[in-house]
């Protein structure tokens, strides 16, 4: 299976009609702020894709009913209700019911999440009980626990009212004429309801009305973000300015490990805001949150156990109750296909440019509208990281690895292969077949590896200097680039990629955050401080072919995600060659431009933008200076790797590029920036003729293969006798290949939702699994109605798919 996947990814189809880099010749990105207008423009063919996640059910129906249109789903955001947990009395003596843990827990059953999903979100949402997003990997890992919790916390308004009444009375409140009173006054709950979108406001109104039904007086404060923040996020919770708040969170990418989220959501360790600092979690939950965040476990099973218990305790604690996963959609013309990240849609994946295609056409132009164009200046050091800027930027940059838009795991892009060494006992798993994973007793960092940077002397600090006693780490990755990498990989201006590019990135990541550097930037200091917390060493093993080693104490559950990509080291802002970044350095040293907005403001200069604007003449000036001086940045360290000739050649290439394109945004991705039209809010991208990879390299990501599950079997089962059920797993009515399936699990629940047993389905053929209930299993079943819940976990997408069947157990 792994071999098949790897073959598909790394080789692809080299049919003669497959172009290099991208299927289309050009992409034009234009501005469209109105979703309704965007749909009309899509219908008449004025635009091809509206790359904006929409939550509106009315527009969704318009798109679904129009055969000329299609859409991609995005599952990245989710809503919750946050409680002010201090108390039981605020400073002024008022009662805060949500200080009571049982009341908070009961809120989980007071609300009907299915109702919210269907009625408030018009079907564009899925009920969400726990912190986990249903399309992410962790959900599939602990799905049995979640199913049981969903049964336990099924809506039950009567029971909720009973619990809340008990606790309110215990807290000294009394119900007078159906209304809760405390110290002679009604208990008023101040509910801060965000009103930017209809659904979020509807959610607040629904929860408020549920509370009113059980005797609370609710004061609804409808506020936008800026107005709500000082009330709920920054005020002292003890002042009691609020009791509840409609929260909304988003995940820009598909996460593989959400273990750290317990720390963030249920303890005071991560978030510095007053309501988080006021949390007093259940001690066991606090402990497990730390265990999961620090990965303090030795096996996946141990982790799953801790995870399951943490989920259970998180519901008992409930400083917030999760409500729904919002199912947004991205409308497009029906004939357009493109890779779309399950969380961040197509703006969230680097693969969008290479997979974008109109039907079976090769060439042509595609027009994509987004709600904001050219938001902030582009520079890959500390420029814009806004989604709407990163979207075009991602088309212009290449990476050593690429992120799977459906699972969040890493695939090799420029990297050929990697070896990952982790300390024995760490629960790291390899699943995609391109990484050699090895467990070792000890990983000693070589003395000659570079462990830091000296910003004053402009030289690397070795491990021997930083750790004279020697140092070991939890994880090392050795990364191999192909032998022809430096021949094939080229920047848009024609300059070949060199080892200087990789080393420059490594240095500047440290240099800017270190006092004493000529380009020291205080806003980078925390980042370096954080990096040095786990980073221990970097060593070039071979310059050509490029092989390097990275030593660190940070590690991930997936072996693939332990591979450190230095091409580039930080992909969050884009990517540029050292010869344009050097111009930026010169400009910053002379206080005419600055990479970061903070420093720009501090020195009264412009924020550096390579794509256009006031930075260009300044950069052009320093280009002339660099040519004149044969400037090599960090020459003390890089002089060994960059020759004067290479520097001059590169600067002249950049000059020719600037004269032709009138900007300095030089990348190495499958598309290049032809021009960024600032006032016109238009970005014109073209196919990069110098790119080396075929357009179908990532064709496997044309659409997420979310499985559909159907369970069939007997309506009656006799106790003590064998019973067999069939599970059909399909995608678009086609059988799901067995090699693309991780597993099929099942749970049997009684009519009250109690777990009877669990087990695994047996693969039969593509798209078909069999669940055999042995006589021993059926003998455990209670007489009456039972449910068989089936959970299918595919390899090609992050989450799981579900099916179920009810049957009656007879004596």
């Amino acid at each position: 299976m792994v071999a098949v996947l790897l073959f598909a990814v790394t080789v692809g189809s080299f049919a003669s009609e497959v172009p290099i880099g991208t299927w289309v010749d050009e992409v034009v990105i234009v501005l469209e702020e109105s979703a309704a207008t965007a749909i009309t423009r899509l219908q008449v063919g004025d635009i091809d894709v509206y790359a904006n996640t929409l939550p509106d059910p009315v527009i969704f129906q318009m798109v679904r009913n129009d055969p000329t249109l299609g859409y991609y789903s995005a599952f990245g955001s989710y809503s919750e209700i946050t409680f002010n947990t201090v108390g039981p009395n605020f400073n002024d003596g008022r009662l805060n019911p949500f200080n009571n843990r049982r009341i908070r827990e009961a809120m989980n059953i007071l609300v009907d999440r299915e109702y919210v999903a269907q009625e408030v979100y018009g079907g564009l949402a899925a009920p969400k009980l726990t912190i986990l997003n249903s399309v992410f990997a962790d959900y599939a890992r602990v799905v049995e626990d979640i199913k049981l919790l969903e049964t336990k916390y099924a809506p039950n308004q009567e029971r909720a009212e009973e619990i809340i009444s008990e606790e309110m009375v215990a807290m000294g409140a009394e119900r007078v004429n159906g209304v809760w009173h405390y110290d002679g006054s009604p208990v008023v709950l101040t509910f801060v309801i965000r009103n930017e979108d209809e659904q979020r406001q509807g959610l607040g109104d629904y929860v408020a009305s549920q509370l009113e039904k059980i005797g609370f007086t609710v004061e609804r404060l409808y506020r936008n973000g800026a107005q709500a923040n000082p009330i709920w996020l920054q005020s002292d919770p003890w002042e009691g300015q609020w009791n509840l708040y409609t929260g909304l969170w988003g995940s820009p990418v598909v996460y593989r490990d959400q273990g750290h989220n317990f720390n963030q959501m249920y303890t005071d360790r991560v978030m510095s805001y007053p309501p988080f600092q006021a949390l007093t979690p259940i001690p066991e939950l606090e402990h497990l949150a730390e265990v999961l965040a620090n990965k303090d476990f030795t096996s996946i099973e141990e982790r799953a156990e801790a995870y399951g218990r943490a989920l259970e305790l998180s519901l008992q604690d409930s400083p917030r109750i999760f409500m729904v996963d919002v199912l947004g959609f991205v409308p497009k013309r029906a004939e357009i296909s493109v890779a779309s990240d399950l969380a961040g849609q197509l703006t969230g994946t680097t693969l969008w440019a290479s997979t974008l295609r109109r039907g079976e056409e090769v060439g042509g132009r595609v027009t994509i509208a987004i709600p904001s164009v050219l938001v902030n200046p582009w520079n890959p050091i500390a420029g814009s990281n806004m989604t709407w800027d990163q979207f075009p930027i991602r088309a212009t940059m290449d990476r050593g690895i690429t992120v799977d838009p459906f699972t969040g795991n890493y695939w090799p892009n420029r990297i050929e292969r990697a070896e990952v060494y982790v300390r024995e006992g760490l629960p790291v798993e390899e699943s995609l077949g391109w990484v050699d994973l090895e467990f070792v007793e000890e990983i000693v960092v070589p003395e000659d590896a570079w462990a830091s940077w000296d910003p004053v002397e402009q030289r690397f600090i070795t491990v021997a200097e930083r750790f004279p006693e020697g140092v070991t780490v939890e994880r090392m990755s050795r990364v191999y680039f192909p032998a022809d990498f430096f021949e094939k990989a080229k920047w848009h201006d024609g300059s070949p990629v060199s080892i200087g590019d990789i080393l420059f990135w490594f240095i500047i990541e440290f240099d800017r955050g270190m006092e004493g550097s000529p380009i020291f930037d205080e806003s980078k200091k925390s980042d370096v401080q954080s990096t040095l917390q786990s980073f221990r060493g970097f060593r070039i093993v071979s310059e050509d072919p490029l092989v390097y080693e990275w030593y660190s104490n940070s590690w991930a559950l997936d072996a693939e995600m332990n591979v450190t990509d230095l091409f580039p080291l930080d992909p969050n802002y884009g990517k540029s060659p050292w010869h344009t970044l050097a111009l930026g350095m010169l400009a910053e040293m002379n206080e005419e431009l600055a990479f970061s907005q903070d420093k720009a403001r501090k020195i009264g200069a412009e924020w550096l933008g390579f794509q256009g604007g006031p930075s260009l003449p300044i950069l052009a000036k320093y280009l002339e200076q660099a040519i004149e001086e044969g400037y090599i940045p960090y020459e003390n360290a890089l002089g060994k790797y960059i020759s004067k000739e290479e520097a001059l050649t590169r600067y002249n290439n950049a000059k020719a590029w600037y004269n032709d394109k009138e900007h300095f945004w030089i990348g190495d991705g499958p598309m290049y920036l032809e021009k960024a039209y600032a006032v016109e809010s238009t970005i014109h991208l073209k196919r990069n003729p110098l790119y080396s990879e075929p357009a179908d390299k990532w064709s496997m990501f044309d659409e997420p293969r979310i499985a559909e599950v159907a369970v069939s079997g007997p309506a009656r089962v006799n106790r003590g006798k064998e019973a067999s059920f069939e599970v059909e797993v399909t995608f678009k009515d086609e059988p799901y290949k067995l090699e693309h399936m991780k597993e099929v699990k099942f749970l049997i629940l009684d009519s009250r939702g109690n777990l009877i047993t669990t087990g695994m389905g047996e693969p039969v053929e593509d798209g078909l699994f069999k669940i055999n209930l042995t006589p021993e299993i059926t003998a455990q079943l209670p007489i009456g109605s039972n449910t068989l819940d089936v959970i299918a976990v595919p390899l090609l997408v992050g989450g799981a798919s579900f099916g179920h069947i009810n049957f009656v157990t007879l004596p």
Partner: protein
């Protein structure tokens, strides 16, 4: 006893008169200038106070900064591993850096005076949040880049509206009660709907259904490279928003001017002119237009400066990069330097216009004199 009469020679009288007139004008200019400067200063300071909610916005901004920093640090798995006190130190440092960037480390009253002084001296400096379309943080660039599209749209629309409505109104004032007059009167209430409302309809008809004109934007995407092709493309994109501007106000403006001209047309001196047998064009020019000229010029001048304000929703509907939208963004983001920039420029334009109008009145209307205590005579 009869005192000898001092005879003033005509030349001396003329010189004295001219000197008096000059003195009056200078005195008027000075006093008017002072009043206008004070008005502008007070107006701008009020705008600063309102834009900052009297300092309350600082609290909101700090809150937003703390949220931003908190989320940023929470997303860094290595940060979480740092000791609590180090995390707190980093958190506060990041908050401080951002507070300094937005000048929030200084008390509001200090900033407010600096905003005022910088604004009045047209030294707007850097915006706190907004950037120009090309990425500049300087207010002059933020506003400057939007100036041409704003002028292009609003000058076209307003000038077209102004001249066409005045001409048609004059025409109608001569044909009071005619069919066309009745139609215009009947259609006047259509101007109750704003320009963006017509904009949406025009887009639906001419872009969505007929496909003749673009949905919005200022030029085709990508913009044509040839000069003439580029100009033609911009004109094509101008048609719908300019039409929306004109249509939304056309009938009410014609109705307004037509009523205005009718009032003047029924003056006694006009009847006298008619009785004298003067031609209608002479009557229109000398007896209707001439006395109404100050009002027309005032209206025209105010129309010109209103272009500076743009129109937020219309610009949004047509994705037109105008001043209105940038002002709206600035208000939403509490970007005081940009708000001050737009207010100051508008205030200066208004003050200068009012000042010039006073002078122009004197030139076009013989009944008006400057000075003499600052009162019109």
């Amino acid at each position: 006893m009869v005192k000898p009469v001092e005879v003033v020679q005509p030349e001396t009288a003329s010189k004295k008169g001219r000197f008096d007139a000059l003195f009056r004008i200078l005195r008027y200019t000075f006093s008017r200038g002072i009043v206008l400067a004070l008005t502008v200063t007070v107006g701008v300071y009020l705008a600063i106070l309102i834009a900052n909610g009297g300092g309350h916005v600082d609290k909101i901004q700090e809150s937003l900064i703390r949220e931003q920093v908190g989320l940023m640090l929470a997303g860094d798995p290595e940060f979480i591993k740092l000791p609590r006190e180090v995390r707190a130190e980093i958190n506060e440092r990041e908050v401080r850096i951002r507070m300094e960037r937005l000048d929030l480390d200084k008390p509001f009253y200090v900033r407010s005076h600096r905003y005022l002084l910088n604004g009045l001296t047209l030294n707007f400096g850097q915006a706190t949040h907004l950037l120009s379309d090309s990425g500049s943080s300087y207010v002059r660039n933020i506003l400057g880049e939007r100036l041409f599209p704003t002028l292009l749209l609003f000058a076209t629309g307003q000038l077209l509206l102004f001249f066409s409505s005045v001409i048609l109104a004059l025409f109608l004032s001569r044909r009071y009660g005619s069919v066309i007059d009745k139609i215009v009167v009947a259609l006047a209430p259509t101007s109750a709907a704003p320009s963006w409302f017509y904009g949406i309809f025009l887009i639906l008809i001419f872009s969505a259904v007929l496909g003749w004109l673009p949905f919005g934007g200022i030029v085709d995407t990508p913009p044509p490279t040839g000069l003439w092709a580029n100009i033609l493309s911009r004109l094509k994109h101008l048609i719908l928003p300019a039409s929306a501007l004109v249509i939304s106000s056309f009938f009410i403006t014609v109705y307004y001017w037509r009523t205005f001209f009718l009032i003047y047309s029924s003056e006694d001196y006009v009847d006298m002119a008619k009785a004298k047998g003067l031609s209608s064009s002479v009557i229109e020019r000398r007896y209707v237009l001439r006395p109404t000229l100050p009002t027309i010029i005032t209206s025209f001048a105010l129309t010109l400066i209103s272009m500076w304000t743009g129109a937020i929703i219309l610009e949004t509907v047509f994705s037109w990069p105008g001043i209105g939208r940038i002002t709206y963004d600035a208000i939403n983001l509490f970007d005081t330097p940009v708000i001050v920039g737009t207010v100051v420029i508008y205030a200066y334009l208004l003050a200068i216009t009012v000042f010039l109008l006073d002078i122009i009145y004197a030139l076009v209307d013989p009944r008006v004199k400057l000075g003499a205590g600052g009162n019109r005579q």
